[in-house]
C-alpha cells in the first residue's frame, strides 16, 4: 500500500470532518468533526513520516512526535470545547450552533 492510500483516507476523513463542522446541527457533532480533522492531519503526519523513512533517510520520529502532540492538543481542545459547550448550553439553553449567533452583534 502506497502513500496515496493513506492520503486518500486522510483526505476523506478531513472532508467528513469539514462536512460535520459545516452541517451538523448539534455542537457535539461539530466537535467530533474537529476531532476528525485533527485525526486526518495525524494520519498525514504518520504516513509521511513512515514513507519518508522508507525512502532511505535516517530514522526520524518528527512526524510521529507531532502526531502525539496533536493528540494531546486535541484532548486539551476537547476539554476546553466541552466547557464552552456547557456554557453555551447554559446561555442559550441549546447546543445548536445556529442558535448561538451572538457573534453577529
Amino acid at each position: 500500500m502506497g502513500l496515496g492510500a493513506y492520503i486518500a483516507v486522510s483526505a476523506a476523513l478531513f472532508a467528513l470532518g469539514i462536512v460535520a463542522i459545516l452541517v451538523r446541527r448539534n455542537v457535539l457533532y461539530v466537535l467530533m468533526g474537529i476531532e476528525m480533522i485533527l485525526n486526518a492531519a495525524n494520519i498525514n503526519f504518520v504516513a509521511f513520516n513512515r514513507f519518508n523513512h522508507a525512502a532511505g533517510s535516517q530514522s526520524n520520529l518528527d512526524g510521529r512526535m507531532f502526531a502525539i502532540f496533536v493528540i494531546i492538543l486535541a484532548a486539551a481542545e476537547a476539554a476546553v470545547a466541552l466547557a464552552i459547550v456547557l456554557n453555551v448550553f447554559h446561555l442559550f439553553n441549546s447546543v445548536k450552533p445556529a442558535e448561538a449567533d451572538l457573534l453577529r452583534e
Partner: protein, 828 residues
C-alpha cells in the same frame, strides 16, 4: 442804515439757502403729492399751492433785493459756490484734477436776469396753481395734475438758478418731459371726449418736436465744452470774448467759424423750446392740455426757457449768429401774427400770439437788445398768463366751449374776467402806460437804432419793418378776440364745435350722425366760412334741441358760484349745454386779478420814478435797464464790450426813439381800429364784412388759415377741423419730422435686431454655459459623491448578509474561500 445791513441787501449766507428752499419746495411737494396726494384732503391741492406761495414769496423778496441793489448802484451777481461755498459736486474725480475737465459742479447763480425770471416763474406758477384749484376741480387725476405742474415749476426754477450749461440742459430736458405729461393730461381721461384723442397726439408731437431742438442744444453745448472745457456761464462768457478778440487780432473782421456753428446749434435749442419757426408747430397743438398748463407753458416755463437761454448765452454768439436769430425771430413774429388773425379757437389765438411775441423777444436779442428782449419776456409772462387764465375762465364759464363764434356777450356774465382780459389785451396790443407797450417799443426801438445808427444789416432792416407789421397784427387779432368773445350777445351753438362735448362727452355720438352728412360741409370745413354769416341758421342748432333746458335754474345755480351745480360729476347737463355763462369761482378770480395787476403795471415796476413813466417818450432809462443791463448781466468788463458793440450815437438814438414811438403807436391804434371796424359793431355785421374780405383774398386767406402748411411740410400735421368730430388725424409722412421718424424707426430696428440681438446672444451663450455647468455639477460631481455613498450603502447591505453570527456559516465561507484559493493556486 448802511447798505450792508439793510434788510434788502443780499446776504449770501442766508439768501442762498432761501433760494434753494424756494427751488426745492415744489420738488418736495411733488414727491408728497405723487405718493400720498390721492389720500390727502382735497387731494392735496392746498399743500402744493401753499408751497408755491412760499416759493413765490421768496422769489419776490429776492427780486426786491435785486431792484434795491440796482437802485443803489451795487453789483448784483451772486454765485453760491464762490460766495457761500454751496456747491453741488456731481462728478468729482481726484485732487490732481480738482480744477480739471472731469469735474462737474453746480451752484446757484443769481443775477438780475435770474432774479426777474425767478420772480416771474414763482408768481405765475403760484397763480396757475391757485387757478387750477377752480379750473380742474373734480376732474380725474386731479392730484397728478398738481404734482406735475409743481414739478414743471421745479424744473424751470432749476433752469433759472443753474450756473452752468449742463445743469440748465438737465432741467431743460426735465421740462420737456413735464410738458409731455401735462399736454397729454387729458389723454388718460376718456370722458374729456375730443381732448382725449387730441391730447394723445399733441403731447407726442410736442415732445418729439422740441426733441429736435434739444438735440441741437446738446450739440452746441458740447461744441463749446470741447473748446473751452467748462460749462460755467461766467467762464464761457469770458473765454468767448477772449476767443473772439484773439481771432480778430489774426483775421480782422472775422469771427471763429466754430463759434458760429456752435452758437447756431445752441439757438437750435431755442427754436425748439421757444417755438420759433419752423419748429413752432408743437405749440398750437399744446392747447390740447388743460388751460392752466397752457398758461404755464406760455408764460412762466418752457417757452420762456428758450429766450432765457439766449440771454444766458448772448456773449457766446457771433454777429453772424445774431443775424440769424434776428431773422428767425422776425419771421416767426410776422408769420404767427398773421395766422392768429384767422383762428377761431380762443386758445389758438393766444397760442399764435405767444409764438409771435416770442418772435419779438428772439428778434430783439438777435438785434443786440438783450435787455429789451428779456424785458419783453418778463412783461409778456404776466399778461400772457393772465390772458390764458382769463381764457380758461371764459371756457370754464361757457361750459368748455372754446370756439369764439359760439361765445359773444360774455362781458355781462363774467365782468371780472372781462376786466382782467381786457387789461392784458391792451397790454399786449401796445397801448401806452401798459406794460407791453414799454417792452415792445423797446424792441422796435432797438431795430431802428441799428438802422439809423449805421449798423445796417439785412436782418435789422427786416426786423425794423417786420416787427411793426407783426405788432399791428397783434393788436388786430387780440381785439378781434375781445370783440368776438365779449361784445354783442351770447350766441351758443352758432357753429358746431368739438369742444362743447368736453363737459357732456357721453352724448356726442348722437351728434355724429347728423353732423356733416346733413349739411355736406365735410371737407370744406372752412372754405365756406366766408359765407358763414348766412349759413349759420341751417347748421347751427342741429344737435342742440335739448340744450336749453331749465335756463332759469341754471342762472340761479351759477349765481351761487361754482360748487353749487356739482361740477364734480361733469354735471353741466343739469342746466343744459348752453346755459348762460357764469363767473368763475374765487381762487380763479383771485389768480386772474393778481396777474392782471402785474400785467398792467409790470412795466412800471422797472421804472425808477413812477412819474417818470408818464413821460413815456423818454422811458428808455428804466429800472429794468438799470437792473438788467449788459454790465449787470455779464459783468462789467464783458458787458462794456458787448454794450460798445451795439451802441449808437446820441443823435441816431434820439431819432430812433421818435421813429419807434410813432411807429408802435401807429400800428397799435391801426390794428385796434381795424378790429373794431370789422368785429366791433355787431356779430352779424362782422360776419358779413369778414366774409367779404376773406372772399376777396380767398387764396391768401386759405394759406394763412392753413398755417402756411408748415405742419404739412414737416409732416406732423394734426389736422383739427373745428367742424369735424372725428379724431384729429396725425399724419407723419415725408420731410423733416417724417424723416426723423423714419430714422428713428431704422435706429429702433437696428437697436432691436442688432444691438439687442448681440446682447441677447451673449446672454444666451452665457445661459447655456451656465446650464452645462449646472448639469455637469449635478450629474458628475453630485453623482460621484452620491455614488460613493450609494456604493458604500449597497456594499454594506450586501456584506451585512454575511455577518449572520452563525459560526458554521463563517466556517463555510472560510472553507470555500480556502478552496477557491487553493484552486487558484493549483490551477493557475
Amino acid at each position: 442804515m448802511t447798505a450792508e445791513s439793510h434788510f434788502l441787501a443780499f446776504d449770501p449766507a442766508q439768501d442762498f439757502k432761501l433760494l434753494f428752499l424756494a427751488f426745492v419746495l415744489p420738488l418736495v411737494g411733488y414727491v408728497i403729492q405723487i405718493s400720498v396726494g390721492k389720500r390727502l384732503p382735497r387731494q392735496g391741492d392746498w399743500l402744493l399751492t401753499s408751497g408755491l406761495f412760499a416759493t413765490a414769496s421768496i422769489t419776490v423778496l429776492m427780486f426786491a433785493k435785486s431792484l434795491w441793489a440796482a437802485y443803489h448802484g451795487l453789483e448784483f451777481r451772486h454765485h453760491s459756490g464762490d460766495e457761500a461755498g454751496l456747491w453741488f459736486h456731481w462728478f468729482y474725480s481726484s485732487d490732481e484734477l480738482a480744477n480739471g475737465v472731469a469735474n462737474v459742479s453746480a451752484a446757484i447763480f443769481y443775477d438780475p436776469l435770474g432774479a426777474a425770471m425767478l420772480m416771474v416763474v414763482g408768481v405765475v406758477s403760484f397763480c396757475v396753481h391757485l387757478f387750477s384749484i377752480g379750473y380742474m376741480h373734480g376732474t380725474p387725476r386731479y392730484h397728478i395734475f398738481f404734482a406735475n405742474i409743481s414739478l414743471f415749476t421745479f424744473a424751470m426754477l432749476g433752469l433759472v438758478l443753474s450756473d452752468n450749461l449742463l445743469f440748465l440742459f438737465i432741467f431743460w430736458e426735465l421740462m420737456g418731459l413735464m410738458s409731455y405729461l401735462l399736454i397729454g393730461h387729458f389723454s388718460h381721461d376718456p370722458s374729456s371726449g375730443y381732448f382725449h384723442k387730441w391730447a394723445t397726439k399733441a403731447c407726442k408731437k410736442a415732445f418729439l418736436t422740441t426733441r429736435v431742438g434739444d438735440t441741437c442744444l446738446l450739440v452746441g453745448m458740447v461744441i463749446f465744452f470741447w473748446k473751452f472745457e467748462t460749462f460755467r456761464f461766467t467762464e464761457l462768457w469770458r473765454l468767448s470774448i477772449e476767443e473772439i478778440a484773439r481771432h480778430q487780432s489774426m483775421h480782422p473782421g472775422e469771427y471763429p467759424l466754430w463759434m458760429t456753428v456752435g452758437g447756431l446749434f445752441i439757438f437750435g435749442g431755442t427754436i425748439g423750446k421757444s417755438a420759433q419757426f419752423p419748429l413752432h408747430i408743437w405749440l398750437p397743438d399744446a392747447m390740447a392740455g388743460p388751460t392752466p398748463v397752457s398758461a404755464m407753458i406760455h408764460a412762466a416755463t418752457m417757452v420762456a426757457a428758450g429766450v432765457f437761454l439766449l440771454g444766458r448765452c448772448y456773449p457766446m454768439f457771433t454777429p453772424d449768429v445774431l443775424d440769424v436769430i434776428a431773422a428767425v425771430g422776425t419771421i416767426t413774429a410776422i408769420f404767427a401774427a398773421t395766422i392768429g388773425t384767422t383762428a377761431y379757437d380762443l386758445k389758438a389765438v393766444l397760442a399764435w400770439s405767444t409764438i409771435s411775441q416770442l418772435g419779438f423777444m428772439v428778434a430783439a436779442i438777435g438785434l443786440g437788445g438783450v435787455v429789451a428782449g428779456l424785458f419783453h419776456m418778463v412783461t409778456h409772462a404776466f399778461f400772457k398768463a393772465c390772458l390764458f387764465l382769463s381764457a380758461g375762465s371764459v371756457i370754464h364759464g361757457c361750459h368748455h366751449e372754446q370756439d369764439m363764434r359760439n361765445m359773444g356777450g360774455v362781458r355781462k356774465h363774467m365782468p371780472i374776467t372781462f376786466a382782467c382780459m381786457l387789461a392784458s389785451t391792451i397790454a399786449i396790443a401796445g397801448i401806452p402806460f401798459f406794460s407791453g407797450f414799454y417792452s415792445k417799443d423797446m424792441i422796435i426801438l432797438r431795430a431802428w437804432e441799428n438802422i439809423l445808427g449805421g449798423k445796417f444789416t439785412g436782418a435789422s432792416f427786416f426786423a425794423a419793418v417786420g416787427l411793426p407789421l407783426a405788432a399791428a397784427c397783434t393788436a388786430f387779432y387780440m381785439f378781434r378776440m375781445i370783440f368776438m368773445t365779449f361784445s354783442d350777445s351770447y350766441r351758443p351753438g352758432t357753429v358746431e364745435s368739438n369742444f362743447a362735448h368736453h363737459a357732456g362727452g357721453h352724448d356726442d355720438h348722437g351728434h355724429d350722425e347728423h353732423g356733416h352728412a346733413a349739411h355736406g360741409h365735410d371737407h370744406h370745413g372752412h372754405d365756406d366760412h366766408g359765407h358763414a354769416g348766412h349759413g349759420h341758421a341751417d347748421h347751427g342748432h342741429a344737435h342742440h334741441e335739448h340744450g336749453h333746458a331749465a335756463p332759469a335754474h341754471a342762472h340761479a345755480a351759477s349765481a351761487h358760484g361754482h360748487e353749487a351745480h356739482g361740477h364734480d360729476a361733469h354735471g353741466h347737463d343739469s342746466h343744459g349745454e348752453h346755459a348762460t355763462p357764469h363767473e368763475s369761482p374765487l381762487p380763479m378770480v383771485v389768480a386772474l386779478c393778481i396777474l392782471a395787476f402785474l400785467g398792467v403795471f409790470g412795466g412800471h415796476f422797472w421804472l425808477a420814478d413812477p412819474l417818470h413813466s408818464l413821460k413815456f417818450w423818454e422811458h428808455a432809462h428804466t429800472w429794468f435797464e438799470t437792473s438788467v443791463s449788459f454790465q449787470s448781466l455779464y459783468g462789467a468788463q464783458i458787458g462794456d464790450q458787448l454794450a460798445a458793440a451795439v451802441a449808437v450815437d446820441e443823435h441816431a438814438a434820439h431819432l430812433a426813439h421818435i421813429v419807434a414811438l410813432s411807429v408802435s403807436l401807429t400800428v397799435a391804434s391801426l390794428g385796434i381800429l381795424v378790429a373794431w371796424l370789422i368785429y366791433g359793431r355787431g356779430w352779424e355785421r362782422s360776419q358779413r364784412v369778414a366774409g367779404q374780405i376773406t372772399h376777396s383774398i380767398h387764396a391768401l386767406y386759405e394759406v394763412v388759415k392753413g398755417k402756411y402748411f408748415v405742419d404739412e411740410a414737416l409732416g406732423t400735421a394734426i389736422v383739427v377741423d373745428m367742424k369735424r368730430k372725428d379724431e384729429p388725424r396725425y399724419e407723419p409722412d415725408a420731410s423733416v419730422i417724417g424723416a426723423s421718424m423714419h430714422v428713428a424707426n431704422l435706429l429702433g430696428w437696428i437697436d432691436r435686431n442688432v444691438v439687442d440681438a448681440t446682447v441677447n446672444l451673449v446672454g444666451r451663450i452665457g445661459m447655456s454655459l451656465g446650464k452645462g455647468s449646472a448639469t455637469f455639477d449635478r450629474v458628475v460631481i453630485d453623482g460621484a459623491v452620491n455614488g460613493v455613498g450609494l456604493f458604500t450603502q449597497t456594499f454594506g447591505s450586501v456584506v451585512r448578509l454575511f455577518q449572520s453570527g452563525r459560526v458554521q456559516q463563517y466556517a463555510t465561507f472560510a472553507v470555500f474561500g480556502g478552496l477557491a484559493l487553493a484552486a487558484w493556486l493549483i490551477l493557475l
